[in-house]
């Protein structure tokens, strides 16, 4: 197809031709084109269907405010829905398809929705689909979801990569139009570190779309020179294709840079980068967005904003139509007529809603002052217009200008409330702007070029001076003031047919009237009732129109009616960019123990605990079920000796003259009198008396302790202890440091554990039962001089030790332990076997320390010392935590030993119905005990200690089984503790 509407060079490179397809048709464009300009060049006006009524829609704007021309870009997994054709840069091989229709674009089966208009107005869903209730989920919602909506996702994982980055600057300039360029120039010349960001791929803003002169030169050339000067400054960073989308606290801005969206292939580079920009000052030079006028069928393909028509003609060398009419309420619309006439495009008419003498019209153009367009005809593309006097005008493009709205969006992201300026019929920034932000140019309401240049120049200098730089004395760039008179005009009341306010959401003037009639008159209610201003364009071209029409309906002024405020993001940001590299296994960091490589060699199966990957069990040849591996690991540990990596437990090194006193305050049980060379189990409470964490703490020297915490709470316990140290008892001489990663630690458990360790511990250290009894600890050496710490503590209930070595020896240590253990048939065990053995022994763990259980519930009530001040002591005495019928941790076993217990089951007295009222507690942990040969469990039940031997029902309605269980001691194995003292 020929580029029938390409009428000139503009700023595209017509020496090179790019090939692309739209709905399967191969078309041609040039470097410098957007998809929209290339489609228009090829005479394509009808590019998509609307959201609700499936109305034919065309290209309405030339920028990110586009409500209509949303397409699917690319194919397969790379496919991206809802891409605005007006910002998609053309590249060779680009594939685009229209969206939101069933069947072809021209013969959309869902276009019948348009005929159902009388039934589909605002509030339709709320009023219609009320009954029968059950129909909503099953019938109405799927039906509506299927017919409404925008593009479709590929349904495949996103193959592109995204990145995040951080930038710092003195002055962030947002928008590289005339004001932004002038501001960046002065701030840059003064020596400030400047970032200049613009969402377009070329700097210049409206200068690229107009025929202005600056300092006697062509506006485009001036912009090019300004960019060249900025590019030569080391202190300036130019960021094109970068949309600053949000203003956050303390001068922090979010920005999305499109890195490879304009290339056929990303070449392995990130597609987009989400920047966090820390600025000391920010200058918002975001320009203004044109708005439309509401008249009948103003959404026809071919009806466009007047400024966008100028953009296509001047920047892209493309005329959106062969015979163009202009409908305006301001002087700016007339520029479109002149620019088009200059390029030889036929002007059908200039229709101006204002009364009075018309400005000079292009030669031969019909002029209608005090008139308006009442209707547009041409279902798949504009054919003709009807004016208020009934006259019909043939035209294939109508350029509409209802005035310009300053882009105040970022000024509202914190507490700014725009204020109405009647002289320009628009909202300008007001209220409290984000800290450090000032606004210049059209974004502030400086609607002429000379005013924008002057304001930008001044703002750049002011920001630099404010930061202590010396402002440059160079004069501001100069240009003539163009005519910019505007008289507010929102809707053509004479129109008999539907007039669109928000084209993206299919909100019409009638919907606004309905909202008014139904009482949804506040701006925020209007928005939610009609969906005005929602979706990808966030009402950039629609919000003020809707507000103005509501003002007319209520007979109030616009300031009385309300104001439109905006939240981030200014333009849509893909979820992928927010995720960045945090996908899949990189969703969050993970940590490996020093024995990880060794465990991998053993074929270990790993599990995430906290951020750690821990060996869960070690399958051996012939084992087909995890239970086989775990049973073997338990049996051989209890039978001889086993080794388990327990590095992941939190380790906190505590030193200082008051270290013992400090521990006495953070642990519920006493630590002041713990002798050197001894370890003690410690229970930590929260200040509200609930159990927080437990572990062991060893006293290595008079003023030196080492604490272990559970893996999951390592971070929060350390934080809590620092709080106690710095905020509660700042006078104590004590210091803490986390040593979790500095020490590799292994549990060596089982009757032969001492014999195994005696082979490794250097001979001068006596670890016999007499010299190194249960709960002893020592700093010693192993394997001929390697420093180590040995603790005689047991989680399994066996004779057991934990040996710690500096992390760099971790790998060597586990290999040495396994080699030394060969004589004892040593077994490596993972977290599952660890769990089975602690349940057999009746030790509480994370399943029992849920943040809702007390020391008393855990059977540790007597540990809480009443003779000292410690965290949680006072509030643990609260009545509610000390009820007679409180929960107690006990053991459970199935009456029928062959049945399997389930964690999460709730206990009910036999014969009583399974109801919440009869709930007496729940099963916290279960395991199949290879030692006992049946399933066992731990759980909380009311008055558990007094009910030993009683049979209750463990009810599990969720999984549908009720099991008779017997209440027993939680210590299934070695209740007297003889083994660990052996």
């Amino acid at each position: 197809m020929a580029q029938i509407n390409r009428i000139g060079e503009g700023l595209v490179d017509t020496s090179r031709t790019l090939s692309f397809t739209f709905n399967g048709d191969t078309l041609a464009g040039h470097p410098g084109d957007t998809l929209a300009s290339a489609l228009l060049a090829n005479g394509i006006r009808f590019v998509g269907r609307s959201f609700k009524y499936h109305r034919p829609r065309g290209i309405f704007t030339a920028g990110s405010e586009e409500p209509n021309a949303l397409v699917q870009l690319r194919t397969g997994a790379h496919q991206e829905p809802n891409t605005r054709a007006t910002v998609a840069e053309l590249f060779d091989g680009l594939t685009a398809t229209s969206q939101n229709h069933r069947g072809s674009l021209k013969f959309d089966l869902l276009a019948m929705n348009d005929l159902l208009t009388p039934f589909l107005g605002a509030g339709f869903y709320y009023k219609t689909f009320m009954w029968p209730k059950s129909f909503w989920e099953k019938v109405y919602e799927p039906l509506i979801r299927n017919s409404a909506g925008l593009g479709r996702l590929s349904g495949e994982a996103d193959p592109d990569s995204y990145d995040k980055g951080f930038l710092h600057c003195d002055v962030l300039v947002i928008g590289a139009g005339p004001a932004g360029l002038a501001a960046a120039l002065t701030a840059g010349r003064a020596g400030a570190r400047v970032i200049l960001a613009d969402e377009d791929f070329r700097f210049g803003g409206r200068l690229l779309a107009e025929t202005h002169e600056i300092d006697g030169a062509d506006g485009v050339d001036w912009a090019e020179q300004a960019v060249a000067e900025l590019a030569a400054m080391d202190n300036v960073r130019l960021m094109s294709r970068t949309c600053v989308h949000g203003a956050f606290d303390h001068g922090i801005y979010g920005a999305l840079e499109r890195k490879t969206d304009h290339l056929p292939k990303s070449g392995g580079k990130p597609r987009q980068v989400l920047w966090r920009i820390y600025s000391r000052r920010a200058l918002l030079c975001a320009g203004a967005t044109e708005r439309s006028i509401c008249f009948g069928n103003n959404d026809r393909p071919g009806v466009m904003l007047a400024g966008a028509v100028r953009t296509y003609v001047n920047r892209f060398g493309v005329t959106p139509g062969q015979r163009v009419a202009i409908f305006t309420n301001n002087d700016d619309g007339w520029r479109t007529a002149h620019d088009l006439a200059e390029k030889g495009v036929e002007i059908a008419a200039v229709i101006d809603s204002r009364d009075g003498t018309p400005p000079a019209a292009p030669h031969g153009a019909m002029v209608a002052m005090g008139s308006a367009v009442t209707n547009a005809a041409g279902r798949h593309g504009l054919r003709s217009l009807t004016l208020t006097n009934g006259q019909t005008i043939q035209a294939d493009c109508l350029a509409v200008s209802g005035g310009w709205n300053p882009n105040v969006h970022l000024t509202c992201h914190q507490r700014g409330r725009p204020v109405w300026r009647q002289d320009i019929a628009a909202f300008v920034p007001g209220g409290d702007l984000p800290v450090g932000m000032s606004v210049a140019g059209a974004a502030k309401g400086d609607m002429t070029l000379s005013a924008a240049l002057k304001a930008g120049h001044g703002a750049g200098n002011a920001a630099a001076k404010d930061l202590g730089f010396t402002a440059s004395r160079k004069a501001a760039p100069k240009s003539d003031d163009e005519a910019a008179d505007v008289t507010a005009f929102w809707q053509v009341r004479e129109s008999k047919t539907r007039a669109w306010v928000d084209q993206q959401n299919d909100v019409t003037v009638k919907d606004v009237k309905l909202a008014h009639q139904d009482g949804f008159r506040a701006v925020e209610h209007l928005k939610r009732y009609t969906t005005l201003g929602m979706a990808t364009d966030q009402g950039k071209t629609a919000n003020v129109l809707g507000l103005a029409i509501m003002a007319e309906l209520t007979g109030r002024t616009i300031p009385e009616t309300g104001t439109t405020v905006f939240r981030p993001p200014y333009s849509p940001v893909p979820i992928g960019a927010f995720a960045g590299r945090s996908r899949g296994k990189d969703f969050r960091p993970y940590r490996l123990t020093t024995s990880h490589g060794w465990a991998e060699e053993q074929g270990a199966v790993f599990v995430e605990t906290g951020m750690w990957l821990r060996a869960q069990w070690f399958p051996q040849p012939g084992e087909t079920h995890w239970r086989q591996s775990v049973d073997r690991e338990v049996t051989r540990t209890r039978g001889s000796v086993g080794v388990c990596d327990v590095t992941t437990l939190g380790k906190i090194d505590i030193q200082g003259r008051d270290a013992a006193e400090f521990l006495n305050k953070v642990y519920a049980n006493g630590f002041a009198k713990l002798p050197v060379g001894k370890t003690r189990y410690g229970l930590m409470l929260r200040e509200d008396g609930i159990a927080m964490d437990d572990g062991t703490t060893a006293r290595l020297a008079e003023n030196h302790f080492v604490m272990t915490t559970t893996t999951a709470n390592a971070v929060s316990v350390f934080r809590h202890m620092e709080f106690c140290r710095q905020c509660l008892w700042p006078g104590l001489d004590v210091h803490l440091i986390s040593a979790t990663e500095q020490w590799a630690q292994f549990a060596v458990a089982g009757p032969n554990s001492r014999k195994l360790l005696q082979k490794l511990v250097d001979a001068e250290h006596d670890i016999s039962n007499e010299a190194f009894p249960f709960m002893a600890c020592a700093e010693l050496t192993v394997c001929g001089g390697t420093p180590a710490r040995l603790f005689r503590i047991s989680f399994s209930g066996e004779l057991a030790y934990e040996i710690a070595v500096p992390a760099r020896y971790g790998d060597a240590m586990v290999r040495a332990l396994m080699a030394a253990g060969e004589a004892f048939d040593v077994v490596a065990y993972g977290t599952e076997a660890l769990g089975v053995m602690r349940i057999e022994k009746g030790h509480a763990a994370g399943n029992e320390l849920t943040g809702q259980t007390t020391a008393r519930d855990l059977g540790l009530g007597r540990m809480v010392s009443k003779k000292k001040d410690c965290i949680g002591n006072t509030l643990s005495e609260r009545e509610g935590l000390n009820r007679e019928d409180g929960l107690t941790l006990v053991g459970f076993r199935p009456v029928d030993r062959a049945t399997e217990l389930k964690a999460g089951a709730h206990f009910v007295v036999k014969g009583k119905p399974v109801t919440t009222e009869n709930d007496q507690g729940w099963m916290t942990s279960v395991a199949w005990s290879p030692t006992l040969g049946h399933s066992i469990g731990l759980g909380f039940i009311q008055r558990g200690h007094d009910r030993m031997g009683e049979t209750v029902i463990a009810a599990d309605p969720l999984r549908g089984n009720d099991i008779e269980v017997e209440i027993v001691s939680p210590h299934f194995v070695d209740p007297e503790g003889e083994r660990l003292r052996a």
């Binding site: 606290d249 409290d432 971070v715 934080r719 710095q726 905020c727 008892w729 006072t874 509030l875 609260r878």
Partner: protein
């Protein structure tokens, strides 16, 4: 949000863990006659000012200082940043 750390200079709020009201420093005396009631209000009663609020922030991804940050809850302006230890000592807390 940026917190001007008294020792380290301006740091991003992402490096911090926030605990809440700085009144948590003023832990009651356990031997007080009304200790139970005092601890109850210490744990559970908070002011919720629209304006300046003193908060405890922990520089977890940094030097592990607990800070008292005075922040305006309406504007997020950080008015003052002190080391919590200094605040606690000034309040007469010791051992």
């Amino acid at each position: 949000m940026i917190i001007d750390h008294p020792l380290l200079g301006p740091r991003d709020a992402a490096e911090f863990y926030v605990l809440g009201d700085a009144s948590l420093i003023e832990r009651p005396d356990w031997q007080d006659d009304n200790a139970a009631a005092a601890f109850d209000s210490y744990m559970h009663l908070r002011d919720n000012p629209a304006g300046e609020h003193r908060e405890l922030w922990f520089h977890e991804q940094g030097d592990r200082s607990w800070l008292v940050v005075t922040r305006n809850t309406l504007t997020h302006e950080v008015v003052k940043v002190e080391l919590a230890r200094d605040v606690a000592l000034a309040l007469g807390r010791s051992t």
